[in-house]
C-alpha cells in the first residue's frame, strides 16, 4: 500500500486497455506513473479481458489482415451504426491513428494471429489478438512493469477532486484505508457503469435486476459519477446500453463470450406467456443480434425462450450451455415452466404460417411466414423434427454509452466549455464521444488504444512541462 502514498507525475485510474496504453505512453515519455486498478490481479483489465480484436485502418494486406480498409469506408461504417451520433473530428482522428497503433502494440508485446473461424468474417477489418484480450493485457502489464509503472491492485479511485479547472487531489481506497498520493496529472480510464445495477435501475426500473452483465463486475462507474457530479460535460444517452441476448443460465457477471447464443434466426422466440414478440428472421444475424437484449428487456420478467428443433442444431456456433431438449413441444413447455396450451398454440400457428422455400442460412432466403403477426421473414422452417430444442434467454449488458466529453487531446471538458488542465480521459469512459450509439466490432479497443496513447502523451507533457 505504501506505493499509494507516493508522489507521481501521472495517476491512471483504471486497469484495462486504455489505462495501460496511457500508462505505458506516459512512462515512455519520462513521467513517473501510478496505475490504480480496482480489481485484484487475477481479474485485472476491465472488459478488455473479454475482447478479442481491434478495428484497424490499413491500405494493403498485412500479416494478419486481408485486403484494405480505407479511412472513408471505416468512417462510413461508423456513421451508419451510430446514425450520426458521433463526433466526426474525433472519429476520423481515431480511425487515422488506428493504422499506426498496430505497430505500437506489437512493439509493446501484443501478438496477433490470422483470424480463422467464428468471428463474423472480420479478417479484413479487424486484427485478432493471439489468445484474446487477456493475453493482450498480460503483455501490456509486463511491459508497464518493466518500464517502471507502479501498479496498485485492489485499489479504487473514489474521488477526483476538481477546483475550477484543475484536479486538486485524488482519493484512493484500498484495503479499508484511504490515501491521497501527490500527483500532477490524472488520466481516467475507469470504464462505464454497466455493472452498477442501482444506476441501471434509474433508467430501467426493476427490470435492471434481471439483467446479466457480460463483463467485469468492477465497472461501477464511480469515477464517471464523481466527475459528472462536478459539472464535467456528459456525453452519450445515459439510458442506453449495448445489450444482446445471452443464455439465461449465465452468471450475473463476467460470463463473457461463451454465454452468447446465435440460435435466434433459426428459432421462434417466445416470452413468459409463450407468445412470440418480434421477427426472429428480420435480417442477417450480425446486423440484428444487438437488438435482442433490449427486446427481451422489454418483455415481462426480462426472460424469453428460443424454441426450435433438431434441424437447427448445427446452424449456429456452439454455446457453453447444453440445449434443453424434449421429445414433444409439451415436454419442452414443461421443462421451461411455460403454459402448455399457449406454447402449443404458438408453435401450431407458426408451423401453419410457414411458407417453405429453399433454406439458406447464409443469405436472406425465401423461407418466411405468411399471415402471422409478428412475421418471421427469413429462415422460417416448421418446428416438427424431434428432439425439440430450447434455450432460455436474458438481456446481457455489454457496455453503457454515457461518458465524459473530451477534446482531441483527450482533455476532459466542463459543462461551461472549459477544459480541465490536468485531467484526461480514455476508453469506455469517453467512448460515447465517438460511438454514441450502436456497435462496431473491435472499435471500443481502437478508441481505447488511440485515446489511451493520446491521454498518456498529453498527461506526461503537462506534468513535465
Amino acid at each position: 500500500m505504501s506505493e499509494l502514498a507516493g508522489s507521481y507525475d501521472v495517476l491512471v485510474a483504471g486497469g484495462g486497455n486504455a489505462a495501460l496504453c496511457a500508462a505505458i505512453t506516459a512512462r515512455e515519455a519520462g513521467a513517473s506513473v501510478l496505475l490504480v486498478e480496482h480489481a485484484p490481479r487475477d481479474f485485472r483489465g476491465g472488459n478488455s479481458r473479454h475482447t478479442r480484436n481491434f478495428r484497424v485502418m490499413h491500405a494493403a494486406p498485412t500479416a494478419t489482415l486481408t485486403g484494405a480498409y480505407a479511412e472513408d469506408e471505416y468512417w462510413d461504417d461508423l456513421r451508419r451504426v451510430t446514425a450520426g451520433e458521433t463526433d466526426e473530428a474525433l472519429a476520423r482522428l481515431t480511425i487515422r491513428k488506428s493504422g499506426a497503433a498496430l505497430a505500437w502494440m506489437e512493439s509493446r508485446g501484443v501478438r496477433f494471429q490470422p483470424s480463422l473461424t467464428g468471428t463474423l468474417s472480420l479478417s479484413r477489418t479487424n486484427a485478432f489478438f493471439l489468445g484474446g484480450g487477456k493475453a493482450l493485457l498480460n503483455a501490456y502489464y509486463r511491459t508497464a512493469e518493466r518500464l517502471g509503472v507502479v501498479v496498485a491492485y485492489d485499489a479504487e479511485v473514489q474521488d477526483v477532486r476538481l477546483r475550477d479547472v484543475t484536479v486538486e487531489s485524488v482519493l484512493i481506497e484500498s484495503g479499508g484505508r484511504t490515501m491521497r498520493p501527490r500527483i500532477k496529472t490524472v488520466v481516467v480510464a475507469a470504464g462505464g457503469f454497466q455493472a452498477n445495477i442501482d444506476w441501471l435501475r434509474q433508467y430501467w426500473g426493476a427490470a435492471a435486476d434481471n439483467f446479466l452483465i457480460r463483463g467485469t463486475p468492477y465497472a461501477k462507474g464511480r469515477v464517471l459519477r464523481n466527475l459528472l457530479d462536478q459539472d464535467v460535460m456528459p456525453i452519450g444517452d445515459p439510458t442506453q446500453c449495448h445489450a444482446v441476448a445471452i443464455d439465461a443460465r449465465a452468471p450475473k457477471f463476467d460470463g463473457g463470450i461463451v454465454t452468447r447464443l446465435d440460435v435466434i434466426p433459426f428459432s421462434i422466440v417466445v416470452n413468459r406467456e409463450a407468445r412470440r414478440f418480434y421477427d426472429e428472421g428480420e435480417d442477417l444475424w450480425p446486423k440484428r443480434y444487438a437488438i435482442w437484449g433490449r427486446l427481451i428487456a422489454q418483455q415481462p420478467g426480462q426472460i424469453a425462450y428460443a424454441i426450435t428443433d433438431t434441424k437447427a442444431l448445427n446452424l449456429f456456433m456452439p454455446s457453453m450451455y447444453p440445449a434443453i431438449t424434449g421429445a414433444t413441444i409439451d415436454e419442452i413447455a414443461g421443462k421451461l415452466a411455460l403454459d402448455r396450451a399457449a406454447l402449443d398454440e404458438t408453435v401450431r400457428a407458426y408451423n401453419a404460417a410457414v411458407r417453405q422455400g429453399p433454406f439458406n442460412d447464409k443469405i436472406l432466403d425465401g423461407c418466411r411466414t405468411d399471415g402471422l403477426t409478428p412475421p418471421k421473414s427469413h429462415w422460417a422452417q416448421r418446428i416438427d423434427t424431434p428432439p425439440y430444442v430450447a434455450y432460455p434467454l436474458r438481456p446481457g449488458i455489454t457496455f453503457t454509452y454515457l461518458g465524459v466529453k473530451v477534446d482531441d487531446q483527450a482533455r476532459v471538458v466542463m459543462r461551461n466549455g472549459g477544459r480541465v488542465k490536468n485531467l484526461f480521459a480514455a476508453g469506455e469512459i469517453m467512448a460515447g464521444n465517438i460511438l454514441g450509439r450502436g456497435y462496431l466490432a473491435g472499435f471500443g479497443m481502437t478508441i481505447g488504444t488511440v485515446f489511451g496513447c493520446i491521454a498518456g502523451r498529453e498527461a506526461a507533457t503537462y506534468a513535465l512541462r
Binding site: 480463422l116 487477456k134 461463451v258 454465454t259 456452439p318 457453453m320
Partner: protein
Amino acid sequence: MRYGDAVDEARRDMEICNACRYCEGYCAVFPAMELRREFSNADLSYLANLCHDCRGCFYACQYAPPHEFNINLPQAFARLRVETYREYAWPGPLAALFRRNGVVVSLVVAFALAGVLLLTADFQAPSAVYERHTGVGAFYAVIPLDVMIAVGLATFGYSVVALAMGYARFWRDTAAGLKRRVDLGTWRRALGAAATLRNLSGGGFGCNDRNESFSGMRRRLHHAMFYGFIACFAATCVATVYHHVLGWVAPYPLFSVPVVLGTVGGIGLLVGTVGLLILKIVRDPVPGARELLGADVALLLLLAAVAATGLLLLALRASAAMGVLLAVHLGFVLALFLILPYGKFVHGIYRLGALVHYAAETAPARGGERTIE
C-alpha cells in the same frame, strides 16, 4: 463412464472452449476442437494427447481460476493423458505400473542395477569388474558381448512390441470415426510436426514455460533431449555395423563415428533432461497435474543417469573404474529399456498418433474443403 472425473472435466472444458475459440492461434488442439460440436471419450483422448502442454491457453484464458468457470485446460488434459496411458498399455494388466509410476521406475532401476552387477560378478571372475582393461574387447572382458546383445535385444525388442501395441490400441480407439485416409502425405506432415515440435511454438511467439512470460526454452531442451537420444541410438547402430559387418571391435577411438555420436548425443541428453527437470521445479504448478509429476521426473532422471554414466564411462574407460561404470551404465540402460512402455516415454507414441490423426483430418481436401495449417 470409461475414465470418470478426468474425462468429464475435459469435456466440460472443451464445451466452454468451443464456444470461445480465442486460443485458436496457439496450437493444433483448438482447430481440431472446432471440427467438433460434441466430444466423445475417444475425441477427448485424441485431443488430450494432441496437447503439448505449452500452457499458452491457460494464461490467456479469461475463465482461468479463480473465475467461476475454472478453466484449466493444460491440467485437465494432463490428468486425462495419465488415464489414457493406462487405458492403452499392453498387456492390459501392466497398466497398473502407471500408478505411482515414480516408485515403479525407481524399483526397476534398483533391480536392474543390482541384477547387472550381480550377473557381471557371476559371469566373470569377481575381480574382472575391478581390474583395468584396455585394448580391443576391453568392455567384453567385463560383460561378454553375447550376453549384452541377448539381454539388450530381448528387452528392447519386447518394449518396441509393447509400444507398437499401445499405438495400435490408441489408434483403434481414437481414429475409429476418422473419415479421411491416412497416406504418405499425412505421415510426412505428422512427422514434421513431431520433429520440429511445431505445437510448442505458441503461434510463433514461444510458450509459457515457467509463467506468464514467453520463451522457447522448453522446446529447445526437448530437442536437445530427443535428438541426443536419437544420436545415442545411432551410435549403437553404427557400432553394431562396425562389429558385425566390418569386424571392428570396441572400444573405438575418440574421433570414431560411434564415439562422436554417443558423446554429442549424451551431452544433448544430459543438458535436455537436466534443463527440463529444472523447468519442472521452477515453473508455475497451477496449470500442471501432480498425477504426472512422478512419471515425468522418473523418466527424466533415468535418461539423465544413462547419459551421465555413459559420458563418465567414456572419460574413465582406460582406468580401473571402467568395469563398475560399465555395469552401472548398462544397468541404467536395461532399466530404460524395460520401462519404456510403462512410463512417461509413451507420451511420444500417443502424441505421434494424435498428430497423424490431426494431419489426416485437416488435410487439404481435393474438393476444396476448409484446411487448417
